[in-house]
């Protein structure tokens, strides 16, 4: 039995919400330093097995905690997230330690600046405990593509935590932090949250600044939180949301604080359930959890609306053109010249050899595959057939969601058709890509999505979490989070 087991995970969890925990720290009823030391002890004891972290910033976290406690003692307010212990996906830059993207290419990279999300969290009193593992450059759905070794699922260490933000999901699920940040290009927050049994929230494109997030697919990427509950995720989101002069794609739409609002139930909620999301491809336990949630939602007074999203299936093809195309362009910057891995040259090698050798040595197989794929679909003769057509499909997918949201307020379905799978279970790249069927269209349309735990599967005696996903129209985060909090409670009963 490889499981750390669910009860030990649950026992670490504080019964208090993150807002209550921070209120205690702000009022001096609880010490940030004591909290940090407790998390560091958990990490020291169990992260050898889980490998959620690429790097633990023990000294910096202790110093930050001491500063918070001193601020409270001096009678000043350290901020709304005072003492919140947060782990950061290792593709978000910060001055402490390295930012590696779990790639050999950036193994020694130290950022000279902080991402905007880091600045905002720091200013609110959050404490950063370390950098979490990911599929190299956020490309993957299992965190097996890390150059530094895979992360293991805390529920069963013979299984993957999902990806690409597998380390951030596992860190929350294992009780190594209060919350974490991930990035979501095609499901990389929501799918690992589902497989690890925590909450993972991808905001509307443009809600959260991407400044300091290492670029993968720039029209798809969005930073968001992992947390133990929808309310905790909302509190972190409230801190990082908003316009940033350093990211011209951040939206002007105002966001009112949501953490205090998520507990308010919605009285007239229409939940759309697409026929395509009740697919035969769903694992039986996934299908059962979805049907149970639908019954629970009805009991809460929500109206269930059967809807159609026939383009669900074309999403994978669309995504695996657009994302690699953007990645092939974004990753062109890793050329061995200004930063990152540089290959040693043989006599007679020229600049072209420096580029191609450095990139072949620095990037792992999946990253190289996606660069090749993206280059191919953008190349002369294939651009119209692949890239242009994918952009047309993108508009059709967005319009399909627009129509669906005239019939319902939120769309409910599984986050992933499968539960956490064993290591090596999806060796063929295409079979791994197909797992993203319910998450990629959210990014293609730029709308928000959240995954929360809907129930559990019993896989030969091992209890594994099953995630459910809600999606909402662009900028309708308040509806999304309030609906998610309602269903989260209903599914837990």
């Amino acid at each position: 039995m490889n499981a750390i087991n669910a009860s030990s995970v649950a026992s670490i969890r504080s019964p208090k919400s993150l807002a209550e925990i921070c209120a205690d720290v702000r009022a001096g009823r609880s010490s940030a330093r004591v909290r940090v030391d407790a998390f560091l002890a958990e990490i020291a004891a169990r992260d050898g097995e889980i490998h959620a972290f690429n790097e633990v910033h023990a000294d910096a976290a202790r110093a930050a905690a001491d500063a918070i406690d001193a601020t409270v003692k001096a009678g000043r307010d350290p901020g709304t997230l005072a003492g919140a212990v947060i782990a950061i996906k290792d593709n978000i830059v910060m001055r402490e330690g390295h930012t590696t993207c779990s790639s050999k290419m950036l193994a020694n990279y130290r950022s000279p600046f902080d991402a905007t999300v880091i600045e905002r969290l720091r200013a609110a009193g959050a404490i950063f405990i370390g950098k979490t593992n990911l599929d190299e450059f956020a490309m993957g759905s299992s965190t097996e593509n890390s150059a530094f070794g895979a992360t293991r699922n805390p529920w069963d260490t013979s299984r993957v935590p999902g990806g690409s933000s597998g380390g951030s999901a596992a860190a929350v699920a294992a009780g190594f932090c209060d919350a974490s940040l991930g990035s979501d290009t095609g499901g990389s927050i929501r799918q690992p949250a589902a497989l690890c049994g925590c909450v993972g929230f991808k905001p509307t494109y443009g809600r959260v600044s991407r400044y300091g997030l290492v670029a993968f697919g720039s029209s798809l990427d969005q930073i968001g939180p992992f947390a133990h509950s929808v309310a905790d995720a909302a509190l972190v989101y409230d801190t990082i949301v908003g316009r940033d002069a350093l990211d011209s794609t951040t939206a002007d739409s105002p966001s009112t604080p949501l953490a205090a609002k998520v507990a308010e139930p919605l009285t007239k909620l229409r939940i759309g359930v697409p026929r395509e999301y009740r697919s035969d491809a769903n694992a039986p336990a996934v299908a059962a959890v979805l049907e149970k949630a639908i019954v629970a939602a009805k009991a809460l007074g929500a109206e269930i609306v059967d809807i159609d999203l026939p383009l669900t299936d074309i999403g994978i093809s669309t995504y695996y053109v657009i994302a690699p195309a953007e990645a092939s362009s974004n990753l062109a910057r890793y050329d061995g010249i200004r930063y990152g891995h540089r290959a040693s040259l043989a006599p007679g090698d020229d600049l072209e050899d420096l580029y191609s050798k450095s990139r072949a040595e620095g990037f792992g197989p999946e990253v190289q595959r996606r660069i090749m794929l993206g280059t191919y679909v953008l190349s002369s003769g294939y651009y119209d057939a692949y890239y242009k057509r994918a952009l047309q499909a993108r508009r059709l997918i967005k319009e399909e969601f627009d129509r669906a949201f005239t019939q319902c307020d939120v769309v409910l379905g599984p986050t992933s058709p499968v539960v956490a799978f064993p290591f090596g279970g999806k060796k063929d790249p295409l079979s791994m890509y197909l797992c993203d069927v319910y998450t990629v269209n959210t990014n293609i349309a730029g709308i928000p999505g959240i995954s929360f735990n809907g129930g559990y599967a019993d896989e030969l005696g091992t209890k594994l979490p099953v995630g459910l996903q809600l999606q909402a129209p662009a900028f309708a985060e308040e509806t999304l989070l309030r609906a998610a909090a309602m269903l989260e409670r209903a599914c837990a009963d």
Partner: protein, 102 residues
């Protein structure tokens, strides 16, 4: 459009991608990319006549910042991550001259 890729296609795309590919890798790459492109080719069956391509989820208009000079990152900070430095410059292999690839 879902025809199989050839070894020459793989070498060409690798060259465009600035990725050195060993001969031993070509065949596996060809198989994997052909399989992925086969799936992606579903797009060809989608009726898209007259649909305007959508490159971005937001209606983006150019956004201009205030034209205020601000200090930039010190060169020393920038060079800390550089793989090879000569004085205050990034060092690169010879670009011009005998044996050069330029």
């Amino acid at each position: 459009m879902s025809e199989a890729l050839s070894d020459a296609d793989i070498r060409h795309v690798a060259k465009l991608s600035r990725l050195r590919v060993e001969d031993s890798q070509v065949s596996a790459m060809r198989t994997q990319l052909t399989s992925i492109l086969g799936h992606i080719s579903k797009l060809q069956a989608l009726p898209t006549e007259g649909v305007e391509p959508m490159a971005h989820p937001m209606r983006i208009v150019n956004r201009l910042g205030e034209d205020e000079p601000k200090p930039c990152m010190p060169v020393e900070e920038f060079l800390k991550n550089a793989p090879a430095v000569v004085d205050r410059f990034l060092a690169v292999p010879k670009v011009l001259g005998e044996g050069g690839g330029a």
